[in-house]
Symmetry: C2
Subunit: 394 residues, 2 copies
């Protein structure tokens, strides 16, 4: 979920990309949300890469994680210093191969990267929504993505792929719109948050709401709750790494000093890293969006929403094939949670591949270079393409 | 470290206890701290129970965890609703048996439960120290406890026992004052914080320091940083439990409602629990103390302080026997950290018993009723007593 991990992007880039927007729900009551409330108009920021084939059968939707955006790969300009968040994965000859497939990635609603969210203008007041924005669900995000897919004239997605909260959207797609998805690739994810995962999100939310500048969400003129948001991000960051990866990366090494300071400056590199991540995040993200997106993740509960408490019943709605991947050191969404979903899928006779990848890097492993992950994605998509008789872009 | 866990205290109580104070370092420069700074006068709040035998050889020092206090067991008054934090363990016929031993427990310096800390009056300004209080170490805490033991006329402690940050003090005692300790019982602890443990503490500190009311530690007249401290406590609480224990205790059960609220109230019991714990903590604890005590825990590094980077060298100073105990679900100080210390002790030919206790309750397991833990403590202390020819109180 820390989509902006520093790593060297490898392989060929897709080059320049453009952010588009698509607006819907402009007339009448707007779209109906899972809460019963309505929202409209809704704008989605999205990007695409690769070429859609003539029968529009090679489209793959990429779902971003908690604080990500539509910028999955490539650069916005010649002097853009940083490519999209999954540039190592999406490009010519890469596991998500733009020579073969057409990729779509949109910013989720509730977000702050171009799609409608709490920072957007509330048409009823002509001011930012703030906490007047309705609480949205993973299902609402996916409903909006479906509007986009309709708009692009795509009847059936070849695949939906994403990690973490993106993986929740993948699972939601497969159950909410089974007729629209051939294959689903949920990575490092869960069908419902554990109490511990909710707890971490709640602490992060409390950190934001404890900041007096949060001002009940009404801070767009008075100044943003930067301190609270930075602390919230720091909490998250610990859960994206692992005990082992933090030991490798930082251990107890000191930051810019040879002895302990005996004050409250950042003595240790890990402290300095967290402060840096917190402060950097504040520049690019909206505190209210963070509240809404973590709440959506906490609310996600596939078995309750679609199976009346039974995950097997929920997956009885699905018809796609699945590639489920977990990572050994992911303690935010541990492997046992992936195994639970795989079992429920299999009980429905669904075609499921599952792999737990050995990786020390914690939850963030799905964003890092990993040959095993690359091979699994490539092989799975090749098989789906072959079995379905899908033609490539050329 | 959440010393105030709700549980039924079992067995006979020691009854009423009194909090005492002992002041030292009044003359000259005060005591010398590990930072090189000095501190004085130093007051320690302490309590005792059981009866010291004639040759003062049956004294056991109990070291409290991060935010604990000297009130290990018993009640302050007839209508006191709550006993001390380790009442299940300390009392007549209990594993820490007041019929046999004399127990001492003092509040650590840097704390806020009666011992000198940032809330105490700075003799140079006649105002509370705030962040003018020197950063103290586990070693400094133990040095002060040694002054208390001297004051009580005890030449050699039969044992030092404590869990978590209390366990760090136990380890420090055994290496700093080897001639003063016959047996050491470090429970659920570590010889140094991992990067992850430092990270959690740093987030907690940042939550406090991000609260504008913290005011660089100068808030005793202007009003306390309650919001920041509550968030800090919430972070800690997650690390004291485990994924499994949180699932057992809360799972995804809703709080006082049958459906999701679709707002930012506490939907889930785990959210409500954390908010409650955070708010309750604010009533009894000082935010600056929290900064100092977490820093002391982060600084603790037995191998660097006493072994020039070698834990084996550090324990070469020790001469006591050890009972080291870890808990399977403790992910704050996982068993591998206890195994590391046991290995280093054994390389020095020390008499070490080690047990990893199967318990789902996370780090807090050492504070909860556990027959296995009880049996190990009782048996170990019986053996030490017999081997050393120690007479009981009677």
């Amino acid at each position: 979920m820390s989509e902006y991990i520093d790593h060297d992007s490898t392989g060929q880039s897709i080059g320049l990309v453009t952010k588009h927007t698509f607006t819907f729900g402009e007339s009448g009551q707007g779209i109906s949300l899972d809460s019963g409330r309505s929202l409209g108009p809704v704008k989605l920021a999205y990007e695409t890469c690769g070429t859609l084939n003539s029968d529009k059968s090679n489209a793959i939707l990429i779902c971003h994680a908690l604080t990500g955006d539509s910028h999955m790969a490539g650069y916005y300009s010649e002097d853009d210093p940083k490519p999209g968040w999954w540039d190592i994965m999406v490009g010519p000859g890469k596991p998500l191969d733009t020579d073969k497939y057409f990729f779509i990635c949109s910013n989720v609603i509730g977000g702050c990267m171009g799609s409608t969210g709490p920072v957007s203008t509330n048409p009823e007041t002509d001011k930012p929504y703030g906490t007047a924005f309705p609480v949205v669900t993973i299902g609402d995000m996916v409903q909006c993505q479906r509007h986009l897919i309709d708009h692009l004239g795509i009847d059936k997605l070849l695949a939906v792929v994403g990690g973490s909260v993106g993986g929740m959207q993948v699972l939601e797609w497969s159950v909410r719109y089974p007729e629209r998805v051939r294959a689903a690739l949920p990575l490092a994810t869960t069908t419902k948050h554990s109490a511990q995962a909710i707890a971490f999100n709640e602490v992060a939310r409390q950190a934001i709401m404890a900041d007096p500048k949060w001002n009940k969400g009404d801070y767009y003129e008075s100044g943003r709750p930067e301190h609270g948001l930075a602390v919230a991000r720091m909490v998250g960051h610990i859960t994206y790494l692992s005990d082992e990866s933090m030991r490798h990366k930082f251990d107890r090494r000191l930051q810019d000093r040879v002895e302990l300071s005996f004050d409250f400056e950042a003595d240790f590199q890990v402290e300095s890293y967290l402060r840096y991540q917190g402060n950097k995040f504040v520049d690019r993200f909206d505190a209210n969006s963070f509240l809404y997106l973590t709440k959506a993740a906490d609310y996600f509960n596939l078995e309750n929403t679609y199976g009346d408490g039974s995950l097997v019943a929920a997956f009885s709605r699905a018809s796609c094939r699945y590639l489920v991947i977990s990572f050994t050191s992911d303690w935010l969404y541990p492997t046992y949670q992936s195994k639970t979903m795989v079992k429920a899928m299999k009980k429905n006779g669904l075609n499921v591949s599952f792999c737990e990848i050995e990786a020390p890097w914690g939850h963030d492993a799905f964003l890092l270079p990993n040959d095993r992950l690359n091979g699994l994605l490539t092989g799975f998509l090749d098989r789906v393409t072959a079995d379905c008789g899908i033609g490539g872009a050329q």
